[in-house]
Symmetry: D2
Subunit: 289 residues, 4 copies
């Protein structure tokens, strides 16, 4: 009947439109064949040089962040990570210093001339955060917090988007599209391991995601070796694999005294371990900065 035919036409039109939209994703390399370069306070992520990003899991004090920053700087790093808002499984675990943490990060960044990356978890904090940090991180648990993605897409500040705990690559790419669709194309994608049945590692590093993301999108891709593995002894080998496969940067965690860290104590490196990590990475010939 006529009504049924109209419905079918409506349905097909809707599908066609969604299909067209998908093909035309702004993050797609089909749309933009050249590599996008994200300029973070002068560091050009995605320019072909492979960088390291490091810092403590959580911001705990000015002294802690400052001492880490000095160690990173000695090794030539310019990108400092640290969590001020900490999404934790239990409401009774340490939730981060919040705004105070961002202030500490900014003070250290200014003093050491480094750029800082920190996670924001509430859309309403995005506007404030841009005054303190250089890269807004959106964490794995919030990869499909679309309101947060839209808020991050509405400001003029680079965004590091982590892959969700069990997000498909297609969902990950679409999450980035939420950001760029609001106008902000300064996006860095971060593979950080996916949830599988295997329990020898905290997550399973999906190393193949790096070349796939670089083929499908024009965005830089970072590998977080700390959260992928959750094991200090695997940071060096997985960092080598990440650099060899073409990641634009490797992210890892460094803490002055991991044993008393307020979060993730089992997987952060102390200064001696970090120094050895850097030495071994340079010696392998895979890290050249």
């Amino acid at each position: 009947t006529l009504q049924h035919i109209f419905k079918q036409i409506f349905k097909v039109s809707l599908e066609l439109q969604e299909d067209d939209n998908r093909k035309a994703l702004l993050v797609s390399r089909k749309k933009h064949p050249e590599d996008s370069i994200v300029n973070v306070k002068g560091e050009k992520i995605g320019d072909g040089k492979q960088r390291l990003i490091a810092g403590p899991c959580s911001v705990e004090s000015y002294e802690q962040v400052s001492s880490v920053a000095k160690v990173l700087k000695e090794q030539g790093l310019k990108l400092l990570r640290g969590g001020a808002f900490k999404p934790r499984t239990s409401p009774y675990d340490f939730q981060g210093l919040g705004l105070e943490g961002l202030q500490i990060l900014k003070r250290v960044a200014d003093e050491e001339d480094m750029a800082v990356i920190s996670e924001i978890v509430d859309p309403k904090d995005i506007e404030t955060a841009v005054d303190y940090i250089d890269v807004i991180q959106i964490g794995a648990r919030n990869m499909q917090n679309f309101e947060l993605l839209k808020a991050a897409g509405s400001v003029d500040k680079p965004v590091l988007l982590k892959r969700g705990l069990s997000a498909t690559i297609e969902e990950f790419i679409n999450a980035a599209e939420y950001i760029i669709s609001k106008g902000n194309g300064n996006i860095i994608l971060c593979e950080r391991g996916i949830r599988t049945y295997e329990k020898a590692t905290r997550n399973t590093l999906d190393i193949s995601a790096v070349p796939i993301l670089k083929q499908e999108t024009h965005l830089p891709v970072v590998v977080d070796v700390t959260h992928s593995t959750g094991r200090r002894d695997l940071l060096l080998p997985t960092a080598k694999a990440a650099l060899a496969i073409g990641a634009d940067a490797v992210m890892t965690e460094v803490h002055p005294d991991p044993a008393v860290a307020l979060s993730d104590s089992a997987q952060q490196m102390d200064f001696g371990q970090f120094s050895k990590f850097m030495g071994d990475l340079r010696e392998s010939g895979l890290y050249k900065l």
Copy 2:
């Protein structure tokens, strides 16, 4: 050395405190041995009677919601679900009618004397939502959107919390604890399938989660058979399994014309299918209302 000893003491104290907190979860049945009953506009979820919750995936128009509500009411249902804010993988897919959708739900709820359940996705919308709906749904993608959980915990309105796409049962329970820790104990847990390698169904219904959640917590547990399976032909058998295993309610989707639905068209029942579903469920002896 002394400093090291202090650090160890600090560390151990921190762990002990977190441990204690965990044992003392407010949602735990150890803390509160009786079943919690959530009163939704007179419907007492968790009182031992097993209920059905139904409605369209998305609110599309007043006419659509109203026609569904009348059909549900004829079958004795009092709980109507419908999405006004729709978290979608792609930013270009239909995102829901938003506030207008909530207004439609409220109008129909008032006219038909039903209670409405609808998903809220942004912490800032929680305050508004309480004026329109009877149960705030927190969706799977937002199960660890802790800011949203805290906002939902700060109002006096029942919350239906869906299990995350690949959340462990422990993470699910802790997410509920975020809500109750802010003062709101009117929480309904919803198993909606987990992400596995199997592709015959949209997700894998983790039916064992129902008795585990009922053992571990004092909260009512609902099974969403529509999102668990993503297949219309599996709604009836999985609804039977859910009732047999002790779920306090079964949730499913009904649409006047699924073929033209703006979302999830493949898994919603039309009115004829819903009528047959209800008849078969009653005939099985498992559904008694």
Copy 3:
């Protein structure tokens, strides 16, 4: 060029043939719309009556098996399971009594007039096994041990085929096809949980697999609640779900003294627990024999 064209034709022909073969699976309900009934020493699995299968994880001694059999018989069960060849993760764990175990099973089966189900793990043992047991079980680890499937397909004895640890439903159905393709159509499919990230249960019971397997094939479907959950406290609720969703039988483990069982001690019921399990199941109205 001509050679290329021939290759293309060859390729397409190969695909078409494989496609045709797939459509024409002998286990498919399209090929054989009626339910297949597997006659196990008079018990007609798949005839619409829902049965229970029980017994110890491993055969340990004549006394052990005999005492279990008597308890099952009192409850009206006719189907006794027990492992003689035990596939264990470690080569140093108890590997079963082997042929002696089969002899014990046969003796008890004869004395109590019950039918016995036992796993065979080596193709060369199939011929011997048919003299001792009534149903050849092919275990989860061997679901794609195609040589074993072919051997089981070449004898005239019912086969209970367990789903692989992480087999898709499609692979499961194809494994059954290996058996039937050799001439033996007396196949019972057994859902026993799949491997997922969730650790609250030993495996995740994929309850939806039951109606899917019954739609796609004409074979009877059994649910092994013991291996699905690995938890004694979940045996009753999952058995109810399995019966409600339409399983042809439920399989579980009973041992005179689980604490000293040579395998799977944490998940077997003792006689008192089994008696309560049976009572509760009957009271639920779901088990009618």
Copy 4:
């Protein structure tokens, strides 16, 4: 009571014994701190040099294998793989040439002075196979086919053991222990991707498994990039990652004309693609032979 006490003692003794056995695994690096080197016709796998293993998925004809072998030899490869017995999901798919395939492999190996690796699927074929091939491969579907492992452990021939589709690293190590416990310590472990929810690749390459296996055991570790990814475009990047992370060899598939291959046509390289693969790998500096 006394009986109960004896049972407890029995139980604890059993556990202690299993524990001891586990600690004392023969494949464990604790037991044997030096790297084991597996000598395959003069190629010393595990000696610190990183090798490539290549060949067609299935042996189809003498001409096919011979042409592939010549191409590999030109590139300096000494290790040729090819399947004679093919475990396939459907019984109606091409099952391999069987013994004829082994004879072809031997003929080519003799002519080109290469070593051949081929999968054996039935314990009874192990004895025959040792006359034709240099390495017995045990495939992913048979990783816990313990009878096959024991048979392979009873001959004096290197074994390449593939990780199961969803085997944990612990299960993988125990499967190797089944082989060595029968006397054969010439074992090569092969990571070949695990089953996850992600569908962008055929499996998910678990790259972290390489350093873990090398830490936990003294055995050489190979990465099969073809089956891990199932995508020709990912062979080069994942091969780089595998070499960078310390794999003793990388295995991949080469076919004279992948489009007409009797299995796995989408993931094999033709000669031109293989030549480019080798060139790019050498240029990266990661492959040095």
